[in-house]
């Protein structure tokens, strides 16, 4: 079946986007292979002097890199980080992440919209991480976002789809891909999100903190595929027991 995820004109067969943090570098390749991952995020940091190990050396061929702007506290910093990431030379994708709340680490939608607008104009394929707010999502799309990445729950919390109802609204109203990011703790939660009609899942902590990291990557791949297929199949009807209305509403109709 031809069911591609299309972001900024690029096609993907996989709907599992991997956050690459918290893994030992040697595991990266296995997790990506087991997960069927075609896109993985990276963060930027100051480079130490000397030819130290680099995560790029552990990324399999053909994987699309999605640098994030983690550490940015406002639009200006996000733009600076994105430009630096592009200068390393790994394509035009960028995940905007603006957080200036150190307690809950919730994204700042307002600053994110501003950064989206600037970077989209510079030719970036912009994927903003966001709190699932319909108005903000519309602003991001109007600003040129190629996808939106609403959080399911506070980052790293593994709490699952706490924002379910609001993500459903985005699925209904927003035309660019919806990628649930942050908070997904179990494959079953990823599966449920996919059944709801979101286009892809990004997970990191849930895989990285499993006892068997490779096996968990496989599990997420299968769960995401299952949810996607269920969504495409159209969930079966649920027969509900309904008492016959004592006075039907349609009794007045004529001709």
């Amino acid at each position: 079946m031809d069911d591609k995820l299309i972001i900024g004109g690029h096609e993907f067969n996989s709907r599992f986007i991997l956050g690459s943090g918290k893994f030992s570098l040697e595991m990266t390749d296995k997790v990506i292979k087991n997960g069927g991952v075609e896109m993985a995020t990276l963060a930027l940091r100051r480079a130490n002097v000397g030819g130290s190990e680099n995560i790029l050396d552990y990324m399999p061929e053909g994987i699309t890199l999605l640098p994030n702007t983690s550490g940015a506290r406002n639009a200006e910093e996000a733009v600076r980080i994105a430009r630096l990431a592009r200068a390393i030379g790994c394509g035009d994708f960028v995940k905007i992440e603006v957080v200036h709340d150190s307690k809950y680490l919730l994204p700042d939608n307002y600053e994110t919209v501003k950064a989206t607008e600037i970077l989209a104009k510079e030719g970036f394929i912009v994927m903003p991480y966001m709190y699932p707010d319909l108005n903000a999502a519309r602003d991001m799309v109007n600003a040129g976002a190629a996808a939106v990445m609403p959080l399911a729950a506070p980052i790293g919390s593994n709490k699952g789809l706490s924002t379910r109802d609001f993500i459903k609204i985005l699925v209904k109203e927003i035309d660019v891909p919806i990628i649930v990011d942050a908070g997904i703790g179990r494959p079953s939660q990823a599966c449920e999100a996919m059944e709801m009609g979101v286009d892809a899942i990004m997970a990191n902590t849930a895989v990285a903190t499993a006892s068997d990291v490779g096996l968990m990557a496989t599990s997420f791949r299968l769960a995401i595929e299952a949810g996607r297929k269920a969504y495409l199949a159209g969930l079966g009807r649920v027969l509900e027991y309904k008492a016959e209305a004592s006075s039907p509403l349609t009794g007045f109709l004529r001709d």
């Binding site: 649920v238 209305a245 509403l249 001709d255």
Partner: protein, 386 residues
């Protein structure tokens, strides 16, 4: 001003018509052409009824013949949704026809330019007298109508009438010829907040054969009217197909999709539907599957409700009192009262002939009482203009 006749392509703009993007029209026409309502099954309808929000696919199923046996369930569900979004309130309004001159030849319409009817146009003094008489009944929401011709009823004339109406009414709408954005902006500044435009049919080929003369012949200009009204600052836009002119299921689908896409593009827009129908010929031996009987009309109205829970639905005085009084509890949220479709006519003699016969001639007071008796709350206005 250019005279448009049959030699004009109905799909091309004429001079003076503002052109806006065709994205929504292209989608609606394509989807309408591809909508095959016979492929939907009982299971598709059940699935749609089970969902919290009906999507476009569900809307198609709900408008299909397969949904007819589920009309009672659709009505039950629609009633719950209407209660949730509108409480039990029903807004009352009345239309005021201030002129019936028309340049269009629409083969189905009583106002069309070849019909030998009494034509008239109210002066500002006459309009004010009518407005005062209507305001005295307690109504606060008024719809100003004309036939469609700029030569007899200019934008300035309509603007002046709107200014007067805004003096006596809290909410003023217009149902006149489609205008350009700057003209809508002017009418909005005069005091109008909503615009009704009926597309009649969303089948362009059929449209061409029904609209032989006049500016209305130009399909895309009419289609994009709601969008221009919103760009001009109007708050609410209303959509309608005259059900029965062409395949009513396809036209009802296109109407809903048109409104849906407008709301998607302009999230602040308030949306309303009117479901007028051509009545089938009763006792006709050849039963036409596309005839719109009362059950089909209710199907369309409840499908609109399930697809667009927040949209207003206005029920016409073309329908009998018994139908109107029952659908307000289920899906309709707005109904007219004390209606005259002739020019003027709210005091003494009508100056010009009627557009169509009405089936519910009740006064404001009678309609008020009927709404109350059906467990709903009559509302005269729920809007403060700022």
């Amino acid at each position: 001003m250019i005279k448009v006749d049959r030699s004009f392509s109905h799909m091309e703009y004429v001079e003076g018509m503002e052109q806006t993007p065709h994205d929504i029209m292209d989608t609606v026409l394509k989807e309408r052409a591809e909508y095959d309502y016979n492929k939907y099954t009982e299971n598709d309808v059940r699935r749609a009824l089970n969902k919290e929000f009906a999507d476009v696919e569900d809307f198609k199923a709900l408008l299909s013949p397969a949904a007819m046996p589920f009309l009672e369930e659709m009505a039950q569900k629609a009633k719950g949704i209407t209660r949730r979004y509108f409480g039990n309130s029903v807004t009352m309004f009345t239309p005021l026809y201030i002129a019936n001159y028309c340049e269009n030849h629409c083969v189905y319409c009583g106002f069309n330019c070849y019909n030998k009817i009494k034509r008239a146009k109210l002066s500002m003094e006459e309009i004010e007298t009518e407005l005062k008489a209507i305001a005295a009944t307690g109504l606060e929401d008024i719809l100003i109508l004309t036939g469609e011709t700029r030569s007899k009823t200019s934008v300035e004339y309509i603007g002046e009438a709107v200014k007067l109406a805004a003096k006596y009414f809290k909410l003023v709408g217009i149902e006149v010829y489609p205008m350009n954005t700057d003209e809508y902006r002017y009418i909005h500044e005069c005091g109008a907040d909503y615009v009704c435009i009926y597309q009649e049919t969303y089948n362009p080929d059929k449209y061409e054969t029904l609209h032989l003369r006049g500016h209305k012949r130009i399909f895309p200009y009419r289609f994009n009217g709601q969008e221009r009204a919103l760009l001009g600052g109007m708050r609410l836009v209303s959509f309608a197909a005259l059900l029965g002119l062409d395949d009513f299921r396809k036209d009802a689908f296109a109407t809903g999709l048109h409104a849906y896409l407008i709301q998607k593009k302009y999230p602040h827009a308030e949306i309303s539907f009117s479901p007028p129908r051509l009545r089938p010929i009763i006792n006709d031996a050849s039963v036409n599957p596309n005839d719109v009987h009362e059950p089909q009309l209710l199907q369309v109205m409840t499908a609109y409700r399930l697809f667009m829970p927040f949209a207003g639905i206005t029920i016409s005085t073309r329908e009998r009192a018994g139908f109107r009084d029952n659908v307000i509890g289920i899906c309709a949220t707005k109904m007219s009262a004390g209606v005259s479709t002739g020019v003027g006519g709210h005091i003494g003699e009508e100056k010009g002939d009627e557009q169509f016969d009405i089936s519910d001639p009740r006064s404001v007071e009678e309609v008020h009482q009927a709404i109350t008796e059906h467990g709903c709350q009559p509302v005269y206005n729920d809007y403060v203009r700022v």
